[in-house]
């Protein structure tokens, strides 16, 4: 059986609605995975990366959202990329590994030799072909994508120690208090189907312990069982940590960019990273100022074909403009995401902001922020259908949907 027979199935974990409130207010109007970065829904980026894998049989999106929220997207992306993409809804939390196990029958239907597991809210170059090749060389059960970060920030993530020669995973610990390693888990993995056996092992072990608790009267006197139900299996604590050092898991290091997309501020930063990546992978998607008919473009800019931009506007760097937006004369846009159906009137200025669907920015108004992607009010966010009247200034603020600002605001959240 040659490599041409080896099919690959990809699974992308997309999360759910009430879990992450950190993406508000944008998540009040749209599931986070569908929020656009560099003009494409967030989940589109890992999906496109999966498409670079030879013999990709199927992509599954796994999450807690209602099926109807993904129905349209899934059918259109399946057609566009010519690969079956399907959304699967988890009925209850199973943990990051349990979720994969829960759908093992569907995943194994295509008899894949390898399973790619990705997290949707990770901004990354997803070097999957190279990673798959390395995984085959290592011959283990799983390969984890890792990246080097600054030692100070490492403890926000899972830290890994690997053998520098064999790349075997020697040690894994999640968010340690003391420094362990500056290599962290990127949230992208390649597994062989043995992963399901490993997950089942953890499940059974838990069941046995639970049974023991019931049978042993001493155990029954212990405080209420605080460990999770037996089918709740976490990838990090329950699989990666215990299997480190047992010649089953390996690491593959990426030298490219990597960020977690947890907040709206970060989505602006990640949009910039993907726009920069387009320059190499899909330069035809980026706008360019050619001649006097088009607006002046600086740096990386995405403009949806249906958007209208006045020739006297100056756009960029790091700007994404979505469908049917209208950018008026003399407008200046820097580092922002302009969503669908937005109207920006003459001479307005938008810097370090996200302007929500159907919003209207008045003439000579100014919507800006300091641009600190991690600060609570570091990027100004206007929700859906917000109107900023002429000459009004909005700085370092978050405005919830359907509001009209007729006076200037600074450092405020307006519900």
């Amino acid at each position: 059986m040659g490599t041409s027979e080896e099919r690959v199935v990809a699974v992308i974990m997309v999360g759910g609605p009430t879990k992450g409130t950190r993406f508000r207010p944008l998540s009040l109007n749209i599931p986070k995975p569908l929020f656009p970065l560099a003009g494409q829904p967030m989940v589109h980026h890992p999906i496109s990366a999966c498409k670079t894998i030879p013999n990709l049989a199927q992509i599954y999106l796994v999450g807690f959202y209602e099926e109807r929220e993904f129905a349209l997207y899934v059918s259109s992306i399946s057609n566009e990329l010519r690969v079956p993409v399907r959304y699967l809804r988890e009925d209850k939390p199973h943990g990051s590994a349990g979720g994969l196990y829960n759908f093992r029958d569907l995943i194994m239907e295509d008899n894949p030799s390898h399973i790619v597991l990705l997290n949707c809210d990770v901004c990354c170059s997803f070097p999957l072909p190279g990673m798959l090749e390395a995984h085959r060389r290592y011959g283990g059960m799983g390969t984890i994508l890792v990246i080097k970060v600054s030692p100070e920030s490492a403890n926000q993530f899972g830290e890994l120690v690997a053998d520098p020669v064999t790349n075997e995973l020697l040690h894994y610990t999640e968010k340690p208090e003391t420094f362990v390693s500056d290599r962290i888990n990127c949230g992208a993995y390649i597994f062989t189907p043995d992963i399901f056996t490993a997950i089942q092992g953890v499940s059974s072990q838990r069941k046995d312990r639970a049974t023991l608790r019931r049978l042993s009267s001493f155990e029954a006197l212990q405080p209420p069982n605080r460990s999770p139900p037996s089918d709740f299996v976490r990838l990090d604590q329950d699989i990666l940590s215990p299997l480190a050092g047992k010649k089953q898991l390996y690491v593959y290091e990426t030298m490219d960019f990597w960020e977690q997309i947890k907040t709206p501020g970060m989505s602006l930063k990640c949009s910039a990273l993907y726009l920069a990546q387009f320059r190499f992978t899909s330069p035809h998607l980026l706008a360019s100022s050619d001649g006097r008919k088009n607006a002046t473009i600086c740096g990386d800019v995405y403009i949806h074909p249906s958007a209208k931009v006045h020739p006297t506007a100056k756009i960029g760097p790091n700007v994404s403009i979505s469908a049917n937006a209208r950018i008026g004369a003399g407008v200046r846009l820097i580092s922002c995401i302009i969503l669908d159906d937005v109207e920006i009137k003459e001479n307005a200025v938008v810097i370090h902001a996200i302007v929500g669907w159907k919003s209207s920015i008045g003439r000579w108004s100014r919507v800006q922020a300091a641009g600190d992607y991690n600060a609570k009010l570091g990027v100004t966010i206007l929700g859906e259908s917000v109107t900023v009247e002429d000459e009004v200034v909005v700085i370092n603020s978050i405005i919830l949907p359907n509001k009209t600002l007729n006076v200037s605001v600074q450092e405020e959240i307006i519900l």
Binding site: T21, R24, I398, N402, I413, L415
Partner: protein
């Protein structure tokens, strides 16, 4: 007789509550806001109520079906496709409001809570024979509103002054009108303001009359006024010796408790508290000047004042929640936490204290 209730839009001032439920369905004194008005209209013989809405019609329509049968009154929705202001919706609903009887029809603003002296208003309208009657109410700070300047003895309206800079009068538009069908001839189907365009014209023809509202009035469209409004409303229940008010050794002042709510031992509830259906108030809890929405659990020894606790939320043991804290739906305040004016969006867990008024998203 017919009536129109201007329900309007998104209720953004009552967020985070209105992130879960459209504003007219947010409960006030344990009853959806709009039901207070529909019941008052039904009581004086209104047979059809039109709700002028432009947001979430599906949720409203489901609610209506339930109450149409329960109340025995016809309720229809008139949906604006573009915002029509305060007068435009009347033109939109014209066919529902006028029939061959030529009777006047009521127009109410959905945010207003008062004693609804609607029969007195009908009598007043008949006696002056003008085209339109409006209710006005006396306020301490008229400059915040639109002041109605009127002739004291007859009530004939001379003019409207929006947010006057000098004192011109202390009666403001209470948002309750009784209009002859001929008024509709003066309203075009476009965004129109009833206070700025329609009424001044009728006043100029000396056909607009104002009646002073006896009793309380409140625009409960924002949390601070909602809490004050509850005090006024419960006060008026007390004056009527309403059996709905709770009594007992653990009750102080005016308190409303839904019959399905459970209250534990050693609590002190009141004054000015409303506890909704299915709530569980555990022992040793102190509640004052607050609204506890349906399905909330307040755990032992907690203390809540001047706040609104949203549906299905929980307040932990020994937690202290005060000073205009507004919890949205399904918010869980952990044990021993202090919230001073926290405004919390739905589906959150509060694990650390909020020391100063702050919005938690």
């Amino acid at each position: 007789m017919k009536a129109l209730i201007l329900v309007g839009g998104f209720g953004t001032r009552l967020r985070p509550l209105t992130l879960s439920v459209p504003k007219p369905l947010v409960e006030f004194a344990n009853k959806p806001m709009i039901l207070h008005q529909i019941e008052a209209l039904k009581a004086i013989g209104v047979t059809e109520v039109v709700l002028a809405i432009n947001y979430q019609p599906e949720v409203m329509l489901n609610f209506l079906k339930e109450f149409e049968t329960k109340l025995g009154i016809k309720i229809t929705c008139s949906q604006e496709t573009e915002p029509l202001g305060t007068a435009g919706p009347l033109a939109l609903a014209r066919d529902n409001l006028v029939d061959d009887s030529g009777e006047p029809f009521f127009v109410l603003n959905s945010d207003v809570i008062s004693e609804y002296p609607l029969q007195e208003m009908i009598d007043f309208h008949k006696s002056h024979g003008g085209e339109a009657s409006i209710l006005v109410t006396k306020v301490d700070e008229p400059s915040k509103y639109g002041v109605v300047v009127m002739e004291e003895s007859t009530g004939q309206v001379e003019r409207f002054v929006e947010k006057p800079k000098v004192f011109v009068g202390n009666k403001i538009n209470a948002g309750i009108y009784l209009l002859n069908p001929s008024v509709l001839d003066q309203i075009e189907l476009r965004p129109t303001s009833i206070e700025k365009e329609v009424f001044p014209n009728i006043a100029a023809e000396k056909k607009l009359y104002a009646m002073v509202l006896p009793g309380f009035w409140m625009d409960i469209g924002q949390p601070r006024d909602y809490i004050t409004g509850l005090r006024l409303y419960l006060d008026s229940l007390k004056k009527k010796s309403s059996p709905k008010l709770a009594f007992g050794p653990h009750i102080i002042g005016n308190v409303l408790v839904d019959e399905s709510a459970k209250i534990g031992e050693g609590c002190l509830i009141g004054p000015d508290v409303a506890i909704g259906s299915g709530c569980i108030v555990e022992s040793g809890v102190r509640l004052s000047r607050c609204t506890i929405m349906r399905g909330v659990r307040v755990k032992k020894h907690a203390c809540i004042s001047s706040s609104i606790i949203g549906w299905h939320s929980t307040v932990g043991q020994w937690a202290r929640v005060e000073n205009m804290t507004i919890l949205g739906e399904d918010v869980h305040v952990c044990d021993e936490i202090y919230s001073n004016g926290g405004v919390v969006l739905p589906h959150k867990e509060i694990k650390s204290s909020i020391l100063n008024p702050e919005i938690v998203m």
